[in-house]
Structure formats: C-alpha cells, structure tokens
C-alpha cells in the first residue's frame, strides 16, 4: 500500500470573504467568551477550575470551518474554543459554567464537560486522550450507517503519549474511517514540554505508523489550518480515510487557574503573544481588502453584545434542584 503523504493535505481552497468574516467572528467570540469566563471566575461566579485556550483560536476555528451539520467533533479539557467553533450558543455555555439548569449539561458537567450533542459536539473531556477512541467509534458508526459525515477529533500534545492515542489511530487507519485527528501542539502538557515527554519531536511523524497522512501546520494561521483541515475533511468524506494534523500553537494563559508558570519564561510567552492568531487574521483580511477597520470594529461590537446578553441569560437562569441529584444516571430514573 502506498503511504499517504503530507501533500495530500495542503490543497483545500481558501475560504471566501463571507466565510473569512465568519471565521474571524468565531475567533473573536471564543476570545471574548474566555476572557469573560475568566473574569466571572475571578469574582466567584464560577467555581471549580477552567482551562483557557486564549491564543489557540485559529486551530479550533480553522479545523471546524468546513464542517457541516451532521459532522461531529470530540474535544478536550481545553474545549471552549472547539465548542464555539462548532457553532454552540455561548448563552447556554455560560449557563453551564454558572451551574444553571439552562446550561448545555444542565449544570452537571461544567467547563470541563461542555458539550452540545444536538450540534455535533460529543463533548469536552476530563480525561487526557479520552476523546480519541470515541472519535474513532463515532466514525465507525458513520460508516455503518452509510452517512457522509466526518469526525473532527481534537487533542493536545500531551495526549499523544497515552495508549489511547495509539490504539485509536491504529484502528482508524486500519479501517480507513472518516476521522480527522487534530493535535493542538501548544508545547506543553501542563508543565512538561514536548521535548521532555516525546521520544520523537514531531507528532505529525507518527501518522506513518498508522497508515495515514500527517502534516504539521502553523496553528496560529487560520488559513494554514483551514487548508489542511479542509483537505482532510474532503478526503474523509470521499472515503479516503483518516488524517493527522499537527497544529503548532501556544496557550497564552496558564494551564488552569492554579498554574504558577514556573516551567516557562516570560520571554517565551511574550514571543508567542506577538503571534496571536486574531490580530494576524485581522491584518491579513485588511491587507487583502476583505474587511476594513470599520468592518472589524463592527464585528467586535457584535461579539461584545452577544457576550453581554449571554451572561445576562446565564445569571438569570435557575440553579438545579439538589433533590434531582440522582436524575439521569440511567434513562427513566434510578436502578438501585
């Protein structure tokens, strides 16, 4: 069998002006959603912890831009961006974070389990690598039911060292399933750098072991991510099988709310702040004459209003009744 090569994944045509505008809108929405969630956490309106993807918006949005209703994603603990990129309603997301009955998981899951089953988001995951075999399984179901859909599976660089990564990619490659594996390589799994955790430097190289094409792209460049993801989606939809995309990016915030950033330097963080995908996309769109400064300002105002309305909705929503704590363990009630 011919080994598929990275070239297979570089050919998707660029999004048109309207879709570029939509991509920017989603990236801004993710950024403002997370900044507002962080602020709500700080004032005590949200409990627990949360993992922000600030700085990684291009990989989430670029990977999801060519997805359609009926396609699935699986996500991670750092999953707010994936959820919004797949089209979720930020009001119901805030409601979930605030622990309200109107949230996507009726307040049972919180940030780490944000999901939108009806919208095709099979869920964030508290378990590193947990979503990988689930994505392969969803792709198997798509095949069994002869649907044209695909699965977009997000995971971090840390997850590639779990057995689940290897088992999931092997089965997907073996059975040529319609799934796209997107590794958001942000250089660290919590405090441990990829240099200190991976025996080979590139995640994309591992694709060879599972009979699928692998490509590494600039994950902070919306167009680069979209080019590879669009090609992989088209390939999967046409029955060509799975692909692996490694999107190089960086999380500008700490791992979680309790991170003291002892394992990386201020200079490194500043360097990556200069590569922030949002100003990069805005600049590219302005230079190409797709959107002028006034257009960008209007888009930002639109996003701002959506965030404010979403928070108001969440804050006005009821909290769950503690008497219902054992509801939904099983369909139709309680077994024991």
């Amino acid at each position: 069998m011919d080994q598929p090569t990275a070239d297979t994944l570089t050919q998707a045509p660029p999004p048109d002006a309207a879709r570029q505008r939509e991509a920017l809108r989603r990236m801004l929405l993710i950024r403002r959603f997370e900044e507002a969630a962080e602020e709500a956490y700080m004032r005590g309106a949200i409990h627990g912890t949360m993992h922000l993807s600030i700085g990684q918006e291009a990989s989430a949005v670029g990977a999801c831009l060519d997805l359609e209703t009926g396609d699935y994603i699986t996500s991670t603990h750092r999953g707010h961006g994936h959820c919004i990129a797949k089209g979720a309603d930020v009001a119901r997301m805030f409601a979930e974070f605030f622990g309200r009955e109107t949230g996507y998981c009726r307040g049972r899951g919180g940030s780490m389990h944000i999901a939108d089953i009806a919208g095709g988001n099979l869920g964030a995951n508290g378990i590193v690598g947990g979503g990988l075999p689930i994505a392969t399984g969803a792709a198997l179901a798509i095949r069994q039911q002869r649907r044209a859909a695909v699965v977009m599976c997000f995971f971090g660089d840390g997850a590639v060292n779990e057995g689940a990564f290897h088992e999931a990619l092997n089965m997907a490659g073996l059975w040529k399933l319609p799934v796209i594996f997107v590794c958001e390589n942000n250089k660290y799994g919590m405090s441990v750098s990829t240099e200190r955790s991976m025996a080979v430097p590139r995640v994309a190289e591992r694709a060879r072991a599972y009979g699928m094409p692998g490509v590494r792209v600039d994950g902070n460049d919306l167009f680069a991510v979209h080019r590879a993801a669009g090609a992989a989606i088209a390939r999967a939809r046409a029955g060509g099988g799975p692909s692996l995309i490694e999107a190089e990016t960086y999380r500008l915030r700490g791992h979680s709310r309790s991170d003291r950033n002892r394992y990386r330097s201020k200079e490194e963080i500043e360097h990556w702040r200069g590569l922030d995908p949002i100003p990069r996309l805005e600049r590219a769109m302005r230079d190409a004459g797709v959107l002028d400064a006034a257009g960008i300002a209007a888009l930002r105002a639109e996003v701002e209003a959506e965030i404010a309305a979403a928070i108001a909705f969440a804050e006005g929503s009821p909290v769950p009744d503690p008497g219902e704590v054992t509801r939904d363990v099983y369909e139709g009630g309680i077994a024991a």
Binding site: H47, G48, T49, E96, G99, R100, C105, G107, R108, G109, G110, M112, H113, N125, G126, I127, V128, G129, G130, G158, A159, N161, E162, G163, G189, M190, S191, V192, R196, S197, M198, S258, D259, R260, R262, Y263, V319, P320, P322, G323, E324, V325, T326, V329, I334, A335, A336
Partner: protein, 343 residues
C-alpha cells in the same frame, strides 16, 4: 466546606508542630528520599510544577530529576514502570494527579502489582506506593472527584489506607514505603490545606489499625478520610442534644481492623458507617457485614445504618455537588435517629 476539627494524635512528649496535611506528606517523602536511595518518585508534573496540589514542591531541586521523575501523560505506562522498578529492587512512590486517572492504570495495579507475589509462589515482591488525591468538593465534576477506594480494597494483594490527619498522612506514608507489598493511599483533596500536630522526626503509623478519635457510649460512628472530621463535628452537635457518640477513624480499609470495630459496637450498641464513596458496595457494607457476623450483632439496639455518596457521578453545580456526599447535618440526623428512635 465544613470546619475541620483538629485532632491531636501526636505521640506523648514528641516535638510536634502544626503543619498542613500536604506538608506532612512532603516531609515524609523528603525523609524517605534522604534515608533510602532506592526510593524515587514518579508522576505527572511532580517536578518543577510541584504536583497539582504542591505536595512535591521543591523535591526535584533537592534530589534531582533522576529521583523525582516527571512522566509523560501515560498512566498505564507509568504504573507499569513503577511495578517493574519495584520488582527489580527500587522503591517507587507513584503519584496519580487525580485518583480518577488510576482507572487508566488498573491493568498494572490489579493484574500485576497486586498479584505478582502470589502468582510467582511468594518469590517476588512489589514494594510500590501509590498516592491518590481523591474526593469531591472542588467543583471539578465527575471525572476529577471520585472516591474509588472500595475498588482497590476489593483486590487481594493491595493494602489500602485513607489518612484523615496530617499526623497519619506522614506516618502511614512512611509505613507504606517500608512495606514489602503495594500500598494505595487515598488523600482527600480538601484535606491538603488542613493542619494538625506532626512530629518532626520520622515515625510510622501501623497499617491496619483504626483509631478512636472520640470515645463515646451511645453510638459508634465509623468514618473514613474527610468524613472523620464531619463525624467529629456531628458528634459535638449530638453532645449538645445529650448524646455521646464514639467516632472511629478507620484509617485502613485493607487490612480492616475488625477487632476495634467489634469492641466499640459491643460497648455502644449502635453503628453508623460514613464514607464519601458511593454507598452501594462501599466499605460501610463490609463493616456492617463484619458486625452482623460477629458477637456484637446480639448487642445491637438499632439497625446498622450507612451514609455514603449518592448513587450518581459527582455533579458540577455547587448545590448538587454538596447533595452528592454526606454532610455534617446528615450524620447528625442519622445518628440522632438511631439513638432516639432506634431506626
């Protein structure tokens, strides 16, 4: 969270300082690393990050990356590496970042570590220590809040302890490191910042011995981990109602100190078991059965009662999360009912 009642368990006359539960574990690890060069730590983010709960803090600077090893995120592999190293003469102390992730490593823990000595005719030893931050109350939801100690206590070949105080956290950990067999330690996350008296020197708390934290005449409340503190607070409230509760800190699930339990229930004639792990098939069921099978059964003046986690995963919303595990008022109400109404 309810206030933590301080329990003075320091040995007579020893120089004790009040330090936190996390610091007590840190101190035990440090003294074991100093005392025995076969001892090493492995886990996720235990080096410069200091562990998710800052238990291992500066140990990597003191002992180097060869003895405080940051593993990749690979729980099954790390557990297997620890088993192999233990088999070959090292003394690994493995930290799971959250006990929930031990589910990824059950193969090595249950099929390998627990069984090797027996399967190999007594010729092999797996002196492995596994530390498990566990429990609800932090808003971390269903995959980061479980209490799975009963799973491990069900496996012959493992020992399972659950320290409730800084004193026991240090003493049980040092005993576990000395132990020639695998010992699993459940540390409740809400306890890390609680403080109590801890002797400065190294000492051991015997594995398999329960501790009576509060002697009483009317009822025996057997509790584990954080529930010991809630039971003590409930006992204070019960005292205000004229009831004298005995509170036993189980400390060790396997081996189980049935002698102390039987003796206590024989005196008090009532038993209430309290744990955070799901009630169904929890350690309370084993304790209840041990009492029912013993001579203490004839002395009972009321049915045995158990309080445990609700029959559901731990939910995220604060009100739900609180409702999912026993609280002080639940313990007080259950004990009062047993004493006042015999039910």
């Amino acid at each position: 969270m309810n206030a933590i009642v301080s329990i003075d368990t320091g040995p007579e006359g020893a120089a004790c300082r009040d330090i936190s539960y996390a610091d007590a574990i840190h101190e035990a690890l440090r003294s074991a690393l100093e005392a025995d060069e076969r001892v090493f730590l492995l886990g996720e983010d235990i080096g410069v990050y200091g562990g998710a709960f800052q238990v291992t803090r500066d140990l990597v600077h003191r002992f180097g990356e060869g003895r405080v090893i940051d593993t990749p995120i690979a729980e099954l592999g790390a557990a297997g590496v620890a088993v192999g190293a233990a088999l070959a003469g090292s003394r690994p102390v493995l930290e799971f970042q959250f006990s929930d992730f031990a589910t990824l490593a059950m193969e090595q823990i249950v099929n390998q570590a627990a069984k090797l000595r027996y399967m190999l005719g007594g010729n092999a030893s797996v002196p492995l220590v596994i530390r498990m931050p566990a429990g609800a109350g932090t808003g971390a939801a269903a995959q980061h809040s479980q209490s799975l100690e009963a799973w491990f206590a069900h496996v012959p070949g493992l020992k399972v302890v659950q320290p409730a105080t800084p004193h026991d956290a240090k003493g049980l950990l040092l005993a576990a490191i000395d132990d020639p067999d695998p010992v699993v330690i459940f540390e409740h996350k809400l306890l890390y910042k609680t403080t109590g008296p801890v002797p400065a020197e190294a000492y051991r708390v015997p594995i398999g011995k329960a501790a009576i934290r509060r002697p009483g005449r009317d009822i025996t409340i057997v509790a584990t981990g954080i529930m010991v503190h809630r039971a003590l607070e409930a006992a204070e409230r019960l005292a205000g109602r004229g009831h004298d509760a005995e509170v036993i800190d189980l400390r060790s699930l396997r081996p189980l100190d049935t002698a102390t339990l039987i003796d206590s229930v024989t005196r008090t004639t009532r038993l209430l078991c309290v744990h955070e792990s799901v009630k169904m098939l929890g350690i309370g069921a084993e304790i209840s059965a041990a009492i029912a099978e013993s001579a203490a059964f004839d002395r009972l003046d009321a049915p045995i009662r158990r309080l445990g986690g609700a029959d559901c995963p731990i939910p995220y919303a604060p009100g739900l999360e609180r409702a999912a595990v026993p609280q002080v008022e639940d313990i007080e109400a259950a004990a009062a009912r047993l004493i006042e109404r015999g039910e």
